[in-house]
Symmetry: C3
């Protein structure tokens, strides 16, 4: 197979970047908090201090999310013995590519100013762009090592587009809440990637079996990704929640949920081996499932023990997924899921959607307070008469929308990626950085001495 | 020896996590700043902006501390050639385990609401839980590679319990100040680990000599831990100090102190070798001693040059500890201290306690201002008539309490860990990840080519 | 050659650190926001909340900058197969050394209180000290592997001194704006390093050719540095900009610019190889050029698409620099630039200075607003009648000052470093950690199996 991408990769990058410059020129402007006219806005709105600028509420969380996107996702995928450049490098490329498109797509759908026809961006827009990109990086996990960077760019282009639409339907039309994106990010991203992987099924992938699996140092590198994702997940789930108690509570819930997940992941991992040894695959991945599953409910009054319960079950289910479901998916459903995103994102995402629907439906004025209930679920404007039960129903509906967009969108995009023009690797060259990277030491030598 | 932990590890994890869920259900609630009733609290207390929520004062520091706990401590211990999984993975496990217990123990001792019988938690509680866990992670450094994960969980369970009690005595009863935990965290954690290591003395540890020491890449991984600890230590020492000048000053002092420590560490390390070569063990560890030693005094008006002086001596003492004291401890006192926590935490912690006592006793109204003195030492309520000299005395008393709790507590816990039921490794299998982890490449091969 | 540094290194460290303690004792004090008298300052200035303390505006950015200095620069230089200790370790040493001197030098030039003769420091001083050190770490990149730690300390000592002077001329006398330091930090640091490298030219450097280049894991380690620099660059460029919209806008601009740079870097890197393979050197370095080039203009109203355009060209120019200009510099101009700082810092720095001059000259009241224009360019006091065109001219003049200081200063310092007393390595021992570090495995063995 021809893996020469010397024409396609530069062309896509240049054309795309020039298109971005033009579209940004037409549409994107600073919002009133990042514009030099802020001094007038302050005077007009009687804001007494610069510290009221949204920047100071969200920037620390933004930077944590940014680290998750680039170091977290990037290094989590370095576990393969000889695909670290592709893991970190292509993750870097498609995230940088996708976040620009996300600002436009999300802008058009969520914040196009009807009068000026402009999109006004601020720090919250950057967070949302990073979130949007996360969906595509999740999908990358399913096809890691089996696609070309050009395919990844195409996948990201369509992924961001689909994301913006399903997000609009779920958050705006259905008015579901999903601050940490259990549905919008993880469920969508998970099924999107799995569907693409299904369409791109490689029956002879065993030919690159020697390149699958990890070596000692690559597993250690992957733990950098795991830990930065795990530590900063409270920031992820709280980054765009309400100022004040909303951000505060989302952090507490996510922190507790993740701690609980670690213990049950270790327990199931140990149970799964004859002598109770632990498996790095589980520790690297399933420990994060709790963060995914609390994406919707983190800002609700799920209560600290509720967060622990969610984490408890997620650790169990995700680890069991690696042990039982992944082999089943590969053999029976022909879904080759390199990183096991079904266990880390798709399943926990669905759990998160369900937890969100239930906790929303069970919300009460006695727990939330009258104003607290309105604030938390944003029962204002067109939605001011919505009951919590109805809200629960819409949350569940949002769940379904994200699954449908993931599966159908992934199937369609997968078909596009099947065209024989994208320079993807042959079966025996999968999971090998030498296909798309200048590697200075020959792999043969490396294989000789470290496998 | 039987290192099968397939029964004990899952049982401990499950039983413990279920107990946590129940106890959290009974005791733990959101505090008024993370509860949806915050909107009413604001109205009641005349708070005009959400930015006054404690979340915005402490969350950036919390995240830095969180990184220190999981990446800092975890990667610092990856220096051994073949124990990176155990270093990062078990650190991850016991920290997640311990922080839940810490929230309860610290809650019962410090913030149990007498009326409702509940513990109300917020971001400061999370920081304190991370701090409490740090004590146990320090202790892990002394026994790294020589104990099973089940032993680590037991060690952490008792460690957190002891921590909460000594902390209560030092901070509440003695009313000593110790924002960065020179005494409460480092001295206690250090002596706790050393005492345990003494009780678990292995006369034939030389049988695993081939696994001791580092390789090139493992030393590089360890520097990730060192640097994240070093960079974020200003956040550690300022995370729970007073809003405003308290946090600000603690950062400046710690920043300066640590810079000074690096220079004297390098100097002594170079002096210790024939041709002046540097030793990575010193650079990885002793450079951090200044942060430990400023844990108590960071919030005081120790003045910038005072901080430099503390760092100056700590770098010298800690590096000399690695050169002279560690071999002495092992040979004469039979304390096998894998990571040299005596030099990094115990000794500098004691120095920190002494520095704190002296600077407290030397505090004056002319330097601090009348109100500044009251704020810094919290001379309010029952303690409003306390003089700085008395305060210095109580600081010194606190120092002793932390040593006693560490030594006695460690001796007792060490005896429990000596029971032959915990699945610890044989002498010849110490420092080897293969005992508790599925390692894909055989160690024999690895040993052949990289030792 | 004699590489014994057992005398010189400790002596320099000790003498220097003692000098620092004395000078800090004489000159450095806490500023009013980090002093216990803050409570009185608050009352006096009618500040209602501690959150108004500058600490809360700048600390998150400071910590990001701190990570860039120690982990970012440190790990970026670990790409060489056998110089990771030197990269991370010496970076650690000279940064710790330099930041103390920077606080003094910058204090004397910028903030010496004429009445008390003291320098009052706060969080912004720490950021500026880190910035100042960055200039020297950039210069280290040019001589990586070819100098002794003593030479690095000397280089840093003079580098910080020169930095403080040129910064004073550019920012205070010329009143140019340069918040992210395109001119002051990157251009100066780049040319300073290149000039030193030119003076220290080694005609027989090919004798250590076997140690040049990277191995697989060292390239992965270097990506840690790249990513932390890339992710936190928005903090770098916004850390000392105006509160409110200034910080907010600088973040948005830098975020966008860097994303754009990644795409064009990948495009050119792919174009440069026969089959379109990517080169890790480009991905590690050129992706960062956009951050450098927006250092001056990040706080201006360059507009989002303007930021993308800057990134677009920087990715192209920097990558082409690695392909075409670096070999030319080495062969023709005899500048051996280990890390390619000419392509990552010097050239993009100059571009940044030019972009800054143009955008300043093109600023208008219609875009900035009357007060916005005054705030952004600080047209107050002596400079209240300056026009934007004049400002553009002064920006360009600043650019020239930084180049002159870099080239002339570097030439002089290079001559000092040429003295045969500093313990630098022989040509055949360059790029080898064994010269200055205790390395536990013999390099010969390592070379046998992993090159």
């Amino acid at each position: 197979m021809n893996t020469n991408i010397r024409l396609t990769l530069p062309v896509v990058c240049f054309v795309w970047q020039i298109a971005m410059i033009i579209l940004f020129g037409v549409f994107i402007r600073y919002d009133e908090e990042s514009d030099t006219h802020w001094v007038e806005t302050k005077a007009h709105d009687n804001i007494t201090s610069d510290i009221e600028n949204d920047f100071y509420f969200r920037y620390p969380s933004f930077q944590d999310v940014h680290v998750m996107i680039f170091v977290g996702f990037g290094f989590l995928m370095t576990f393969l013995k000889r695909y670290s450049f592709g893991a970190v490098g292509f993750n870097f490329l498609i995230a940088s590519f996708g976040l620009q498109w996300a600002l436009l797509m999300q802008g058009w759908f969520h914040s196009l100013d009807p009068q000026t026809g402009k999109i006004f961006i601020g720090v919250e827009s950057l967070i949302n762009a990073d979130f949007c990109v996360a969906g595509c990086l999740i999908a990358y996990g399913a096809v890691l090592g089996k696609v070309s960077p050009v395919q990844l760019l195409v996948m990201t282009l369509f992924g961001v587009t689909l994301f913006a639409v399903e997000e609009y339907i779920i958050l705006n039309l259905l008015h579901a809440r999903d601050a940490g994106g259990s549905m919008v990010i993880h469920t969508f991203g998970g099924y999107y990637g799995l569907a693409i992987s299904r369409v791109l099924y490689r029956p002879n992938l065993h030919q690159s079996k020697r390149m699958q699996g990890s070596v000692y140092h690559s597993d250690t590198f992957a733990m950098i990704g795991t830990l930065f994702l795990w530590m900063f997940w409270p920031s992820f789930n709280s980054a765009i929640t309400d100022h004040g108690d909303g951000q505060h509570r989302a952090v507490i819930n996510t922190y507790l949920c993740l701690a609980s997940t670690v213990l049950t992941t270790v327990a199931i991992s140990s149970l799964s081996q004859k002598t109770g040894k632990l498996d790095m695959v589980h520790i690297q991945n399933s420990t994060l499932a709790g963060g995914v599953a609390l994406g919707t409910a983190a800002e609700f009054m799920i209560s600290p023990y509720g967060a622990l319960i969610v984490g408890f079950f997620c650790g169990i289910i995700s680890t069991m997924g690696y042990i039982f479901i992944s082999p089943f998916l590969e053999k029976t459903l022909k879904i080759q899921d390199t990183c096991g995103i079904h266990n880390l994102h798709a399943m926990p995402g669905v759990i998160g959607g369900i937890v969100g629907a239930i906790t929303a439906a069970a919300a009460s004025e006695s727990v939330y307070g009258k104003q607290g209930l309105i604030n938390t679920f944003d029962f204002t404007g067109d939605f001011k008469d919505r009951t919590v039960l109805t809200q629960g129903g819409y949350q569940a509906a949002g769940m379904c929308v994200s699954i449908v967009f993931g599966v159908v969108g992934g199937a369609i995009v997968g078909s596009i990626l099947k065209l024989p023009i994208w320079g993807d690797p042959a079966d025996e060259n999968c999971f090998d950085d030498e296909v798309y990277w200048e590697v200075r030491e020959p792999a043969t030598h490396h294989l000789l001495f470290t496998i």
